[in-house]
Each structure stands twice: as C-alpha cells, then as structure tokens.
C-alpha cells in the first residue's frame, strides 16, 4: 500500500477535522461554566450503563433500539479494525498487539470482527429500510412543532448509512482478498476458520486480482472512514464524538432539582448545554413522548434543541431577535419525558426553564399567567384567595386538625393550593384527613402560614418568586414542630424534597400515598372490605418520573382489593396530564387535543374499567374535566376514596365518586 499517499490523506483529513472542531471547541470554552466534574465514580457508572450499556436503547422502542445498540457495539469493536487498516498503509502485515493471528486474542478478534460486520450491515439495512421505505414518522419530524425539520431534506441520514455500508464492504473486501493473496502464509493458515465471512468473500475473488482488490478494499475502507470522520461534526452524527462525554457530564442532581442560572452570566448557556446541542442526533425519542408535541402545540423538544444548535453554530437567522418563540417555551409541561427518553443525556427541561426566566424577566407572558404570579406574590396561592381561607376546607370535618405551629405533631401535612382551594380536591382532602385521624396518626398543618411550595412557580421561570415562597415556607417550618412532612400534591412533594434543602435543613418528605401504604401495610389501617373494582392508575409525572414513586400507590391499590389494569404508558414512562410547569394557568384552548384527553382515551382503550385512579389534586381536576369532555365509561377517582371504602367506614364508593363528578 502507499504509505505516502495514505499519510497525505490522513494529514489532510486530520487537518480538516481539526479546523472543523476548533470553532466548536471554542464555543464550549466560551460558554458559561457548569460544575460537572464531581463524583467521577458515579459518572463512570452512568457512562458504562447508558453509553456503553446502551440502556435507553434497550429499554425503549424496538427493534430500533436494538439496531442502534448493535451498530454502537459494532463500532466499538470495529474501531480496532480501523486502526489495523490504517496501520496496513505502513506495514502490510500490521496487527494490533494481542490481536495478531498467532496472538492470544487473535482468533476471537477476527471472529468477532466478521460477525459484527455482518450484524452492522443488517442493522444498517434495517435503518435504511426505516428511512427510505417505511418512512418512520419519528425520523422525519412531528407536525406542527417540527415543521422546520420536516421540511428539510433527509439525505444526510441515508448518506451516513451508505458510508457505514461502504466501510464494512471495504473491510470485508480487504480481508477477503488478503486470504486469497496470502493463501499460503502462516497468518492466513492461523486465521483459517476464524473469519467465516471474509472466507465467503474470498471465494468470490479471482486469485489474479486479489492484490488489487485488497488494495481497493483498503482504500475504500480508509478513505470512507476519513470522510466519515469529517462529516460527523457537520451532521447530526457529531453525536458519535460527543454523546459519550455528554452522558459522562450529565447532571448528578436529583431530577427534581432545577439548576439556578449562573449569577455571573444569567441566561447564558453552559458548556454542557452546548454539548447537549452537539449531541442531539435528531432521533426524536424526546418529541415522540412529549405531551406538548402530541397535543399540537408549538413545542417539540427535538426541534428546540436543533434550533438552539443551529443558532449557536450561526446557521440560522433569528426572528425578532429570538431563536425560540415564546409559544415554544411556554408550551412545556416540564413533565421530563424528553429527558427520560433521550439516549444521549440531553437536559431539555432546564434549558426551557432558563428561556422562560428571560421571558418572565421581560414580562412576556399571557395575562392569566401574569395574574397568577401576582396572586402568588401577594396571597401565596394561585387562586388569589386570602391565606386565611386556606384551611377553610376543614370546616366539613367533625374534628380539628392540629395547628403544627401550636402543638408538636409527627407529620406536618403540606396540603398545597389545589387540595386546599379546589372544590373537587377539598373533598379528597377531607377524606384523607378522616382516614389519618381515624388511624390515630399525629398530624397537623400550617394553616394560613402555608404558602404555595413554588414548584411550578420555579418552572414558570419566576426564580425570585420561588425563592420568596421558599423563604416564607421555611419560616413557617421553623415555627412548627414536626418530624416529617407529607404532601397531597406531587409537585409540592418534589420541590420540598429536592429543592428546599438547598435553602436550609429539611425534614424527610413523603407523598400521602407512601404514608397510607405504610399505615395499611403495618396494620394501622385495616381494610376488611375489598372494593372489588377494576381500575387503572395514572402515575403523576412529579411522583413517578421525577421521584420514582410508582410502587406505593400500586401496593395500596392491591391492598384495597382493586384489580389494576395498566395503561401502556405507566410508571416512569407515564404520560403527562398537561397541567405541570405552570401550564394549568395558561390558555390550552389552542391545543388540537389536550394531553389529558389523550390520556383518558388511552385508559378507555383498556376496556371495561370502573375507575381511573389519581393521586394528584391537579390530576383530579384535569382528568375529571377530560373524562367529561371525552365521554368515557369510567369515573376519575382519588385513591383515598378506595381506601375509605375498603375500611368499611365510608359511603359506597359510587357516591364518593359522584361527589367529584363535574
């Protein structure tokens, strides 16, 4: 082979590659700092699991996920082949140490190489099938939010796949022809039987042209690899270079703890956010699970990241000085499904909230949201009601819930706005109070001193208001005596559990379903009368995806004797009701179909159900409305209604459900 020619090719390719990467590296260097270097052990573990282990591909949509995993693992092995073939420019019989024909791993390597090459070829052909023939929608952009992506030509993906095929083919030709060319050599003899695919190729190669074909295969493989290398940063396949570091540098904070803006550079992207943009491979797993995208809003997480990437790279013109329109940012429900789905560790939600912070700072929001923020600021609740009205829902109880500011209690019940002020949820709150009181649990409330916990306020982007609410609640906590907190609302639960500790010492925080489950399982609450109903259970995003609480509510359902019929999207894969991230205070009339309505239909497809069980006050409101709009055969029920029924103390469950009907 020609060492000089190849050296020139290598030098040119390397030079071009460096020239392309330099500005990208500069962007990273000039970005705002991000503290992503701590706890290397955990980072390595995650990299092993998510990058090298391809966990999200294996758990996600199939067979596309397996297809990717095989291509990835293939490339891990085949990188050895690449180095080997580069080496052959200088030494016709070059092998990597340990991988030579008579070395310990030689046979394993050639066998694996051959098998992997075939696997990659099959996987790539399947990928081409998806792109060219099946036209899988996820790959081409969801409308309307991904109109821009949809309108683009999609030849890039096809080209890259063809190049991968070319690399495989080049390598096989090279190895096959070598078997013919060096038929009698010791190397060939040693490898005999350990490279079955190359052997097959060898049978097709006439002995006279073997040296030429070996050289052709060499050049084909090596030149395509060098071209491929340079195409990577120019295309979505840059992820081949950045995805592993992006996983390594992923956030180690709890999912439910939003990062603050850097006070030195508010609103400026950190290098990790830029790396996110570099890493997006346009796979669309995020957009495919996004409730905003599914309901026809302006937001698709993939398009958002691509738009930001194109802006960072100077590829697009801004409209009115904006990369992303306000509608896009306000459409997010912060349900975290995108982040959960992303195989390369992109953190969409914090980036969206960062954008919202700028909008809030500029006062660019719809009037209803502005009124709501004003209500939070003046009254401490979204309803704009006097804080003295907060505990009014307790009036229907025949006992007084202790004031935790006046007497010590074991549990402090952080009731939350919806459970305090929404009529439907008030009934549930009274029920929970009755159950706990009956079980002899020591619990109290903060009464008018409770403020909205601020979870959604923070996700609206009103960081200052969030901090104000935290301070007010912390002050109230300080004036009360309790051992742990439980909440009705999963949103409050999230911020109290994950974010408040950054402002001061916090007691443990539980969701009421955890508390009820514990009381049932330790026998404090007896459930003598199994309810014998068929239900499905909706996991609240902030409980399941954010805080991994999926088991307690299910154990409780089992304990009350309900037959649980799971929706396709359950557990951490749950589908958002559409109310989170402040969306509940924004206009949703422009949506094609509300997420809550889609979800109710998903439940309806399960067949005969008695109840759609919820464990979140916002869910109760959202799904009661959606069930009425869609018109379904089941009722939406807050879980404690089943508990009370199974206790045999309450009214028939149908009546309880009726109380909550619209």
């Amino acid at each position: 082979m020609s060492p000089v020619l190849f050296s020139i090719a290598l030098a040119v390719a390397g030079g071009v590659f460096a020239a392309i990467l330099a500005p990208r590296a500069r962007l990273l260097r000039n970005a705002a700092p991000a503290d992503r270097f701590g706890d290397v052990r955990e980072r390595l573990r995650r990299t092993a699991v998510y990058a090298f282990g391809q966990k999200k591909f294996l758990r996600g949509e199939q067979p596309a996920g397996l297809m990717h995993a095989f291509i990835f693992w293939g490339f891990m092995i085949l990188s050895l082949t690449v180095v080997t073939l580069f080496g052959r420019a200088y030494d016709e019989h070059f092998y990597l140490p340990l991988l030579g024909p008579d070395e310990p791993l030689g046979h394993a390597y050639t066998l694996l190489r051959d098998l992997i090459q075939v696997t990659v070829v099959i996987a790539v052909l399947y990928a081409l099938y998806r792109r060219v023939i099946a036209h899988t929608p996820r790959l081409f952009g969801f409308q309307p939010a991904e109109e821009r992506l949809h309108a683009e030509t999609h030849w890039e993906g096809i080209l890259i796949l063809c190049l991968i095929l070319g690399i495989m083919l080049g390598s096989l030709l090279h190895e096959g022809a070598r078997i013919v060319e060096f038929a009698g050599s010791a190397d060939t003899q040693a490898e005999k039987g350990w490279e079955p695919i190359s052997d097959l190729v060898a049978q097709l190669i006439p002995s006279g042209s073997a040296p030429t074909i070996a050289e052709l295969g060499f050049w084909m493989h090596n030149l395509i690899v060098l071209t491929f290398l340079n195409l990577l940063p120019l295309s979505k396949h840059f992820h081949i270079i950045t995805a592993i570091p992006n996983v390594f540098f992923g956030s180690l904070r709890p999912r439910g703890a939003l990062p603050k803006d850097d006070p030195e550079a508010p609103g400026k992207f950190t290098w990790k956010q830029v790396l996110d943009m570099y890493s997006c491979t346009e796979c669309g797993r995020c957009s495919a699970v996004c409730p905003a995208t599914a309901s026809g809003s302006a937001l698709a997480p993939r398009q958002l990241i691509l738009d930001l990437r194109d802006d960072v790279l100077g590829r697009t013109e801004r409209v009115d000085g904006k990369v992303v329109s306000n509608d896009v940012l306000w459409a997010c429900t912060t349900c975290m499904a995108c982040v959960e789905a992303c195989p390369v560790g992109i953190e969409h939600v914090p980036t969206i909230v960062q954008g919202r912070r700028k909008l809030v700072d500029a006062g660019e929001m719809e009037p209803m949201l502005q009124d709501t923020l004003q209500n939070f600021a003046t009254q401490g609740n979204s309803y704009g009601k006097s804080s003295r009205m907060r505990a009014r829902w307790t009036k229907g109880l025949d006992f007084k819930i202790p004031d935790a500011r006046k007497e010590p209690v074991q549990y402090l019940w952080f009731v939350g706005d919806f459970a305090s002020f929404d009529e439907r949820s008030q009934e549930a709150s009274r029920r929970i109070a009755r159950i706990l009181h009956g079980a002899g649990v020591s619990f109290g409330m903060l009464y008018e001193a409770e403020r909205n916990a601020g979870n959604d306020v923070r996700r609206i982007g009103e960081e200052g208001l969030f901090e104000l609410l935290v301070e007010q609640n912390m002050e109230a906590f300080a004036g009360a005596e309790f051992e742990a907190i439980f909440t009705t609302d999963p949103h409050s639960h999230n911020t109290l559990k994950n974010e408040y500790s950054e402002f001061g010492a916090m007691k443990p925080v539980y969701h009421y379903t955890e508390l009820l489950t514990e009381l049932v399982e330790n026998g404090t609450i007896a459930l003598p009368e199994p309810v014998g109903v068929k239900v499905t259970y909706h996991d609240p995003c902030y409980l399941a995806r954010y805080n991994r609480i999926t088991d307690a509510p299910r154990r409780l359902l089992a304990a009350v004797g309900a037959e649980l019929c799971e929706m396709p999207r359950n557990g951490t894969n749950t589908f958002c009701c559409g109310a989170g991230g402040g969306r509940i205070w924004m206009d949703d009339s422009k949506l094609v179909e509300r997420p809550s309505e889609q979800r109710v239909k998903e439940a309806a497809r399960l067949g005969d159900l008695d109840y759609f069980v919820v464990t979140c006050p916002k869910d109760l409101a959202m799904y009661t409305d959606a069930a009425a709009t869609v018109g379904v055969g089941f009722e939406v029920l807050e879980i404690s209604a089943l508990v009370e029924r199974a206790m045999g103390t309450g009214a028939p469950v149908a009546v309880l459900a009726g109380e909550q009907a619209v």
């Binding site: 809030v360 923020l373 003046t378 006097s386 003295r388 009103e462 200052g464 901090e467 009425a628």
Partner: protein, 258 residues
C-alpha cells in the same frame, strides 16, 4: 417630561374586611395592604410616557403598611426615584390629608405632571388627585385612559359613559387621574424587585404636618345586605345548561321548533 406618581396602599379587597372595635373603620392593624390598582395603572402610563418622551418618573408614597414593597416594585419597573414620606398613618389617611401632604412635598419638587390613580377603594372623602390639583391650583383631568405628548404639554384622553372620549390639551402643570393605562401594567419579576431593594434607592423624607380635616364623620361601616341572591343551579355543566335552557325558554327567549 418629569412625572410624579403618588402610590397609595389600600386594604386588599381579597381579604375578609374586619372592622375595628367601634365599627367606624376597617381593622388596619391586621389587614393586608396592597398598592391601589389604579395607582398601578397610573405608574404604567407614566412609564409609557417616559419611554416616549424621556424625562423621569418619581414615585412617592406615604409610610403606609408595606409601601416599601410597592415603591421598590415601581423602581424595578423603571421608575427613577422613589420617595417615602414618614409620619403617623396607622389610623388611615383621608384623601384630603393625603392630598395636602403631597401638595406640601410637591412644593419643593420640580415636576411637569402628576399621574395618579383615578380613585381608590377607600377614598370616602373624594379622590386624591382632584383635591391635590386644586390645592396646587393646577389643572386636573379625571378618568383618563391615555396621556400623550402634545405641543409641549400633554393630550389627555378622558373617558365618559357610553364609550365617548374627550381629548383635552393641558399646557401647564397638571394632575391627571388615570382610569386605565394604554396597556396592562407590566409584570416585574421578584428578582428585579429584590435587586431594587438591595440597591437601597429609597429616599425618605418627613411628611408635612398638615391641617386637613375632612369635615366628615364615619358613624359606622357595615357590609351591605344583599337584597337578593341568585338562585344557584345545581348539577354538572349539562344539568346547568338544561336548566338555563328551560328558564330562557319559559320567557320565550328561545325560538324553538316542535
């Protein structure tokens, strides 16, 4: 143009209004106070006018409950100066006294225009702005829904019933009572308000000791008895709709077939 906006703290009407022991006033010690919503409109209009013409906006409040927050919020929105006038205001301030204090303070200030909320929920003895104008002996226009620069002075759009609007030109100093700004008052993030607080840019002065009796005596305050209350329709949305249909049908307001 240099604009002064007096900001008043009023009882938050969201709260249940408790009365004091002799029933002649609300229980000021325990009630929550917020900025008078019309004063917020006046501030917005002032900021819009300043953005159009240049100059300054100065907000001035007397030391009523939580006035600091209102003044800092105004600074955060874009006011240039905020002044707090100290004094004993715990038992409430009549419009006459408020106007007299403001008039005394304005005597030492240079300004072109005063924009003030057209009314407040508790201006039992008249609206502050118009009293202030007459104490200062300058022109006044009430119920304004827009103030724009006009031939060296301003043009005020004054609103009447029936949507009629009269445009008046003011050539000298004037006090304008704002009903509504040309756009909804802007939102200001708490971070900005806090930044304003940290800047400490609140000027303080003593309120003038004025003799301003209203000549009125409040004998009692009481919640009006509602003479009637709507008959509330029961059931869900469909039930309610059916009842409404029935009611309007009975009155022949729906021309139905069949």
């Amino acid at each position: 143009m240099d604009i002064v906006v007096p900001m008043q703290q009023t009882v938050d009407l969201v709260e249940e209004l408790e009365l004091n022991d002799d029933g002649t006033d609300v229980e000021r010690e325990y009630l929550k106070f917020v900025a008078n919503e019309w004063d917020e409109q006046a501030l917005e209009e002032a900021l819009l006018l300043k953005e159009a013409t240049g100059g300054t906006v100065t907000v001035v409040g007397i030391d009523e409950t939580d006035v600091d927050g209102t003044l800092f919020s105004a600074l955060a929105k874009g006011a240039d100066r905020a002044v707090k006038l100290g004094g004993d205001f715990e038992s409430g301030v009549s419009s006459h006294r408020r106007a007299a204090i403001l008039a005394a303070w304005l005597g030492g200030e240079s300004y072109d225009l005063v924009l003030v909320g057209v009314q407040s929920p508790e201006d039992l003895d008249g609206q502050t702005g118009v009293i202030l104008a007459n104490l200062l002996d300058v022109a006044h226009v009430s119920v304004a829904i827009g103030v724009q620069p006009h031939e060296g002075g301003v043009k005020v759009s004054q609103e009447f019933g029936g949507g009629v609007v009269q445009e008046l030109a003011l050539s000298g100093r004037a006090v304008v009572g704002i009903q509504a700004a040309r756009q909804a008052p802007r939102y200001v993030s708490i971070s900005r308000v806090r930044a304003a607080m940290q800047s400490g840019a609140l000027e303080e002065a003593d309120a003038a000791d004025v003799d301003a009796s209203t000549g009125t005596t409040v004998r009692r305050l009481y919640a009006p008895e509602s003479t009637s209350h709507a008959e509330m329709l029961a059931g869900d949305a469909d039930d309610v709709a059916a009842r409404i249909l029935e009611i309007v049908r009975e009155r022949g307001l729906v021309k139905t077939g069949g």
